[in-house]
């Protein structure tokens, strides 16, 4: 019993550190998609590049495309998940993506694109904005008509109009098709 009063201040400090870390993560552009089970006989793609690996990629890209290399080297994290869907996992994947979208709405992410094409693609794009022209994070969620779910999280200081070029260079279709521009400044 004597140990409880002694543990209390330590526990309070640990709880404060963990809470502030969680809040910091929530306030940055990083989103944890969690882990996915690769479906049997379906397509599955996962790419997870942190800052160091992105800098490495920029080293090899800078000769071919210096502008893209500069953009990539400023990123903190890029994560891409593509999960093929069949009758066995479609409902679970769709529910998981809808739950993620609700979570992002609640965490203050701005939903800038919503596309629902009946039986076609179902797309939602979220950004966490730093200022009018640059963003801290971007999340693209796609429940595709071709039977695949796509999740993309780009973290780092990137300008809206650079997103499309980044998607083209990293071969990420949902980013490639975005045509984001900052709002014109009213004079």
């Amino acid at each position: 019993m004597k140990s409880i009063p002694r543990l209390f201040p330590t526990g309070l400090v640990v709880a404060s550190v963990l809470t502030s870390s969680a809040l910091a993560a929530a306030s940055s552009g990083h989103v944890d998609f969690g882990s996915f089970e690769p479906p049997a006989d379906q397509q599955y793609v996962e790419v997870d590049l942190n800052k160091a690996r992105l800098k490495l990629a920029a080293t090899f890209t800078k000769h071919e495309d210096p502008e893209i290399a500069e953009i990539i080297s400023n990123l903190e994290h890029v994560r891409v998940n593509v999960i093929g869907m069949d009758d066995a996992n479609r409902a679970a994947a769709t529910n998981r993506i809808e739950a993620l979208r609700n979570q992002l709405d609640q965490q203050g992410w701005a939903r800038i694109v919503t596309v629902r094409e009946g039986a076609g693609a179902n797309v939602a794009v979220f950004i966490k904005q730093a200022d009018d022209e640059s963003i801290q994070g971007l999340v693209v969620t796609v429940i595709g008509a071709k039977g695949e779910a796509v999740l993309v999280n780009v973290v780092g200081d990137v300008h809206l109009e650079q997103i499309g070029r980044l998607g083209e260079r990293l071969n990420i279709d949902p980013l490639r098709e975005l045509n984001l521009k900052p709002a014109p400044v009213e004079s």
Partner: protein
């Protein structure tokens, strides 16, 4: 009395020469034998994908090229005029490579691919590697692992597994990042800006 000293000293020198010769021979033998074995990372990756998933594979080829063999290759390249310049640059850039090629029956590929990935992640994670790229399409598979702490400017290490056709290929390689980047700069065409 003094007549016995020179033979004793000569004998001692011969003994030392024999010991050093035997030690050198032993080292060279070990290095030669290791050419036919995979690196620890490539071995772990193969075991995780095959044994860990009860997916039988038959070895077709295994070899490793270490710093010693590469040094000999660089000396040979320096003495040869006919070697293409790209090969010379590649020899300078690479620090080592280990390749294993296995034949497999894709019909027996485990359906629980999550378990395969988990086994590979566990084995390579214990060595400080993380999976950064995963591509599974139909029954083709590509896994790319990098060290948890990536050295951007120094030495690049990578471990790759590829399943295609009826083959499993595991590769682990190390190269100097700057030299590799220089090769990319020299030999890849520059794309036109749009």
């Amino acid at each position: 009395m003094s007549a016995t000293s020179p033979p004793t000293r000569r004998t001692r020198i011969l003994h030392w020469l024999l010991i050093m010769g035997a030690a050198t021979l032993l080292v060279l033998t070990i290095k030669f034998v290791r050419i036919f074995f995979l690196s620890p990372e490539a071995t772990d990756l193969h075991r995780a994908l095959s044994h860990g998933s009860a997916w039988p594979t038959t070895p077709e080829m295994k070899f490793s090229i270490g710093p010693g063999l590469l040094a000999m290759g660089r000396v040979a390249a320096w003495c040869t005029d006919d070697l293409p310049i790209e090969a010379r640059h590649a020899l300078r850039a690479i620090d080592g490579a280990s390749v294993g090629i296995y034949r497999l029956d894709r019909r027996l590929m485990p359906l629980d691919r999550g378990r395969m990935l988990a086994a590979a992640d566990t084995r390579l994670g214990a060595r400080g590697w993380v999976r950064v790229v995963t591509v599974m399409e139909n029954r083709d598979l590509v896994l790319v692992y990098l060290p948890r702490k990536t050295d951007v400017s120094g030495r690049l290490e990578v471990c790759i597994a590829v399943v295609g056709e009826d083959k499993l290929v595991v590769v682990s390689a190390a190269a100097q990042t700057a030299a590799l980047a220089k090769m990319v700069e020299t030999y890849l065409p520059r794309s036109r800006s749009i």
